[in-house]
């Protein structure tokens, strides 16, 4: 074989004095593909940016070698590197919404990409752009060309970006989590597009992802990173089926799609009476959006009920109606068999005590000016529960229960990681000893390993305290691990409902099928963990 397309050798990168990537080496042959995986902050993006020479100019220092067709891109001057940009080296960014200039039309930005083909005629370039737009499956290419970025959906924008990147036929695509900002159902289509174009055009791929399943499904080789070092590397099949390092094994175990029955044993399958119930709830916002349309479901005590559906399907609205944060236009909300509607403020307060909410985003749901213990004590203070000592005791208990060590208690949220913050939010919801905890996508802002930690905490609490969970998620694999029953929402309507086992293995509706299909399946020899539901 000739020289590799990309060769990374002993790459180290430091931001200021902190070294975040150490001695990383790997290779991609011409037309080959490689996935970089690892938890958040492990240095994946930093490596991608070193390859692209897009590291922040003044803060980062890189050493080692990054060879593209044998040329060390780190040592050549920008003047010589610039011709490689776009033409040899294409970049597909993570978040399509922020990757195009919001104040310029798509067309004018596309012209910049088309110019890389060497075409001099503006109209010819325009035709080339329209071609590629059609090729990536954008329905109305002309309209897209004249649009501003904010007028397109995330999926469309990512298609635009991919189209523009492949237009000059680069030899290597660097894709940094190209779908993590997109909707579940869209993710799969975009990945399909990317890998399809790749094989068709013979482009090499450096794919960055935190999702082991995606990596396994899409690439030939995998490099597992941890704290900036290569923990393990090798052909996909090898790393995936027989991980050698403990870290890679953990990582694998944490991916819900690969371990659907992880928590099965912990479950108490003895459903009690309905603890929560929505009956024919309809909600239309002042803007005319009908977020909920005749939605009914019930949650038996001591079980976990999941609400799933794509973005905007009304999951959060259902939760807010349940908690009395929004008033439904029609229908009833029952908590422990009693109607919430029309209750006085004081009564509502009493109900809420037993009904706690954990928000999706741990970065915004905690007051950044408060310390941990105060945050967790707040509901006790507000409801005037116990004396000082009693409260202290309860706070300590709750914080310990979610696994937060005592040295963290006097910190403020800004000094915590995302996973730790979400634990604080859970502790805060538990300190009142509620019966029901509503979890609105509690882990979607966190990476898999942290997600696994949190789910573990939740499962253990349910087991020990007999809590009832209403669990909102768009991740069917996670739902499968965690929930007992599920309601599938689409455009505010209930599409399908029933026990998780049934709905996910044998979906009846097209929409549910599409959702199930979106779960990544590594194209690998079947192995026991995967067998149960495929």
């Amino acid at each position: 074989m000739s020289e590799p397309l990309l060769q990374v050798q002993d790459l180290s990168v430091a931001y200021g004095r902190t070294r975040v990537v150490s001695d990383v080496s790997f290779e991609i042959p011409v037309g080959g593909s490689l996935a970089l995986i690892g938890e958040s902050g492990s240095g994946k993006s930093t490596i991608a940016r070193s390859v692209l020479r897009l590291l922040p100019r003044h803060q980062a220092r890189a050493s080692g070698a990054v060879r593209l067709h044998g040329t060390d891109v780190l040592s050549i001057p920008e003047r010589r590197f610039r011709p490689l940009r776009g033409r040899t080296l294409g970049f597909v960014p993570q978040d399509p919404a922020t990757s195009l200039n919001a104040v310029r039309r798509i067309g004018s930005q596309a012209q910049e990409a088309a110019a890389l083909t060497g075409e001099r005629d503006r109209r010819a370039r325009r035709r080339a752009v329209l071609d590629v737009f059609e090729r990536v499956g954008l329905p109305d290419a002309e309209r897209v060309y004249d649009a501003y970025p904010h007028e397109l959906s995330g999926g469309m924008l990512q298609r635009v970006l991919i189209g523009l990147t492949v237009l000059p036929r680069p030899d290597l695509l660097v894709a940094d989590e190209p779908t993590s900002a997109l909707d579940v159902t869209v993710q799969r289509r975009v990945l399909d597009l990317l890998t399809g174009l790749r094989t068709e055009l013979g482009i090499g791929l450096l794919l960055i992802t935190h999702d082991l399943a995606v990596a396994a499904e899409r690439t030939d080789r995998i490099v597992v990173l941890r704290e900036g070092r290569v923990e393990e590397a090798g052909p996909t099949a090898q790393v995936f089926t027989a991980p050698r390092s403990q870290y890679a094994r953990d990582l694998q175990a944490d991916v819900p799609a690969l371990n659907p029955d992880r928590y099965r044993g912990d479950r108490v399958p003895s459903p009690g009476p309905a603890r929560l119930e929505l009956r024919g709830v309809t909600k239309t916002f002042a803007t005319g959006t009908r977020a909920l349309d005749d939605v009914s479901f019930s949650v038996p005590a001591g079980t976990t009920h999941a609400l799933v559906g794509e973005s905007g399907s009304g999951k959060t609205t259902a939760v807010r109606v349940l908690l009395g944060l929004e008033q439904p236009d029609a229908g009833q909300v029952l908590v422990a068999g009693e109607e919430v509607q029309g209750r006085s403020h004081a009564q509502l307060r009493g109900t809420r005590r037993h009904l706690q909410l954990v928000y999706q985003n741990p970065f915004t749901s905690l007051d950044p000016t408060w310390r941990l213990d105060a945050l967790v004590r707040e509901p006790l203070d507000r409801y005037g529960i116990g004396d000082r000592a009693e409260r202290e005791r309860r706070v300590a208990h709750a914080l310990t229960a979610v696994g937060l060590a005592e040295h963290l208690w006097r910190r403020r949220p800004t000094a915590l990681s995302g996973g730790q913050r979400q634990r604080v939010a859970i502790a805060r919801s538990l300190v009142l000893r509620p019966d029901v905890v509503v979890l609105d996508e509690p882990t979607s802002a966190l990476d898999v390993s942290v997600q696994a930690d949190i789910v573990e905490v939740l499962v253990a609490l349910q087991r020990d305290l007999g809590l009832t969970y209403l669990f909102v998620s768009h991740d069917l694999a996670l739902v499968r691990q965690f929930a007992d029953t599920v309601t599938v929402l689409r455009h505010g309507r209930v599409v399908e409902e029933g026990p998780v086992e049934r709905v996910l293995t044998d979906p009846r509706e097209e929409y549910t099928k599409a959702l199930v299909a979106a779960v990544p399946r590594p194209a690998l020899p079947a192995e026991p963990a995967l067998g149960t539901w495929r």
């Binding site: 958040s40 940016r49 692209l52 897009l54 922040p56 100019r57 003044h58 610039r82 011709p83 490689l84 940009r85 776009g86 033409r87 080296l89 294409g90 970049f91 960014p93 993570q94 978040d95 922020t98 990757s99 195009l100 200039n101 919001a102 104040v103 310029r104 930005q109 910049e112 990409a113 890389l116 501003y148 904010h150 007028e151 970006l161 523009l164 989590e177 993590s180 900002a181 935190h210 916002f285 803007t287 959006t289 928000y359 999706q360 985003n361 970065f363 915004t364 995302g418 979607s444 802002a445 966190l446 990476d447 898999v448």
Partner: protein, 325 residues
């Protein structure tokens, strides 16, 4: 009323209310003190006027009527466009104002140009210059500009350029050079604010993903700056610019005094010391009108610059951002 016409009508209505309130507020503030240039001169014991003489003259100016009546009369005159007569110079206020307005507008306009050019130069410099001493100096310039009392800037400019270098004559404050330097003195603090916003904007934009994407397509630094970064970064500048118009008028007070320009600022200065209410009311209303109009225009122009607000705002509640896992 819904939609744009409703919005515009509301905005204009608010603007009118603001101007009227400003007019009344000036009246109230100035009327707190029982005194005016007329009675002040008349009551000076050195003149020895009789009570009868004083009363007759005071009644000519209407100053003997109860304050609410005076306010009402002046307000109804104002609504018909009559700004009244100066108590100090006995000239119609509109005449005095029209006489000095061109000078102030020239100054403020020139200062605005100076401010924008200076701010743009500094901000672009911070992006183009290599990191190091040069950039450090550029980045601290706005802070420095904001820390120097503007009368000191004015005095220094005059001493250096008019007296040492004889670039302009103090007695010809309306000459091109004199206006330029006055504009520099007035524009420097404003440029500092603009530069701060612009630098922050450029820094912010250059950290955005789209900048990286554009660079990954081989765009050079200069083209990136011109074609991509400058436009979105200057959006907040428009808003700040509109807000600083008032500052230019306020700052003109000192600058005009120092440079010996006869303008609105120096008119205010002499009117304030004599409590010449009609002039002050007129100037305040004028300033309020200018401010309100400029901000109205800024609001109307903004959508032309930012396509995101051009389409009716998306009505979705602000979503929790999905941070990348």
């Amino acid at each position: 009323m819904r939609g744009y016409p409703g919005f515009a009508a509301r905005r204009v209505g608010q603007a009118v209310v603001v101007v009227l309130l400003a007019y009344v507020a000036t009246f109230v503030v100035i009327s707190v003190l029982p005194g005016d240039p007329v009675t002040n001169t008349l009551r000076n014991p050195e003149n020895g006027f009789t009570e009868d003489q004083i009363a007759r003259i005071v009644s000519y100016y209407g100053l003997d009527r109860p304050v609410p009546v005076q306010l009402w009369e002046s307000l109804s005159r104002f609504l018909t466009g009559d700004l009244g007569v100066s108590l100090r110079s006995n000239r119609p206020v509109s005449e005095s104002l029209l006489e000095v307005l061109p000078s102030t507008l020239t100054l403020a306009g020139a200062a605005l140009v100076v401010a924008v050019v200076l701010a743009a130069a500094i901000a672009v410099g911070t992006q183009v210059l290599p990191r190091g001493a040069g950039q450090g100096v550029l980045r601290s310039l706005p802070s420095l500009f904001l820390s120097v009392p503007n009368f000191v800037i004015g005095l220094v400019l005059i001493h250096v350029f008019a007296l040492q270098l004889s670039l302009f004559r103090i007695i010809e404050p309306d000459s091109a050079w004199a206006t330029t330097f006055a504009a520099v003195a007035l524009g420097i603090p404003v440029s500092a604010q603009l530069a701060e916003v612009l630098i922050a904007g450029l820094d912010h934009e250059s950290r955005q993903e789209y900048a990286a994407v554009a660079r990954s397509r081989g765009l050079g630094r200069g083209r990136l700056l011109l074609r991509h970064l400058l436009r979105p970064s200057s959006l907040p500048v428009v808003t700040v610019l509109a807000l600083t118009v008032g500052e230019l008028l306020g700052g003109a007070l000192i600058t005009e005094t120092i440079f010996g320009r006869a303008g609105v600022g120096s008119l205010v200065e002499s009117s304030v010391t004599t409590q010449d209410l009609p002039v002050l009311q007129a100037v305040v209303s004028l300033a309020a009108v200018v401010f309100v109009v400029v901000n109205l225009v800024a609001d109307l122009v903004y959508p032309l610059l930012d396509p995101r607000v051009r389409t009716p705002r998306s009505t979705v509640v602000p979503r929790e951002e999905l941070s990348p896992a």
